[in-house]
Symmetry: C2
Subunit: 112 residues, 2 copies
DNA sequence: GCCGTAAGCTAAGAATTCTAGGTATGGGAC
DNA sequence: GTCCCATACCTAGAATTCTTAGCTTACGGC
């Protein structure tokens, strides 16, 4: 099927929320975050690594996530990220904001 | 109430769709498009003029809308835009894409 | 030993938005 | 008549985010 995955440039600004939400479930490394988002979106969302790593740095700078070097299940060296308390608050804020925004857009799209 | 309108930087990429959708209902000038989006979104979406006019130029360059100088109901000189056939096709494409994207995001947000 | 894959990273460019200005003019208040 | 507000258009520059297109390291199977 012609199911090209959507790049996230269709909707910038949602990447932070997706990462925070992913980490709110379990600690994970960058590569794993990409895979989780891809799989849980039914292979429709593709996060480029060139978007991901800068995003992780952004989030860490803001104190919303914390990364430490560790080892994955496959015995690979990786930077394991976990969400902070501030990150959970931020996730709540962004989730709410996103809902408001998509509702507003839906209103415009459906107006007479 | 503290109802600050959302700027559209929360969701870039949706502006073109909103403009096309607005013009798919009636011909309108830029200022009127801003007002329509604001009102139909219940005052939650605020399109800055610095975003709008470049967007209109983009859309016209792509052949999705056409503008002509005219006069508004208030006897003001204004550039009246109308959507083209290609613009309607593009609107359909973007609407579909947007639905796909928000569905994919919802899946990630709700995954276990 | 080789190679594919997991895993991390960066630089340069493209695209879109905001900020913060500017211009022009119609109509109402005075 | 003059002033001012709202309507209406526009642009330049900065900021942000994303993509493209690379590079690097190291595990484990063959």
């Amino acid at each position: 099927m012609g199911r090209k995955p959507l790049k996230n440039d269709s909707l910038p600004g949602s990447l932070d929320m997706l990462i925070l939400r992913t980490l709110s479930r379990r600690d994970l490394h960058g590569y794993g975050i990409v895979q989780f988002i891809q799989q849980s979106s039914d292979n429709e969302l593709l996060v480029e690594e060139g978007s991901l790593y800068p995003a992780l740095q952004r989030l860490e700078l803001n104190g919303w996530i914390e990364g430490d070097w560790g080892v994955t299940a496959n015995n690979r060296r990786a930077r394991i990220y976990k969400i902070t308390a501030a990150g959970r608050k931020q996730l709540a804020v962004e989730t709410k904001q996103y809902a408001k925004l998509t509702l507003a857009i839906a209103r415009v799209m459906e107006a007479e």
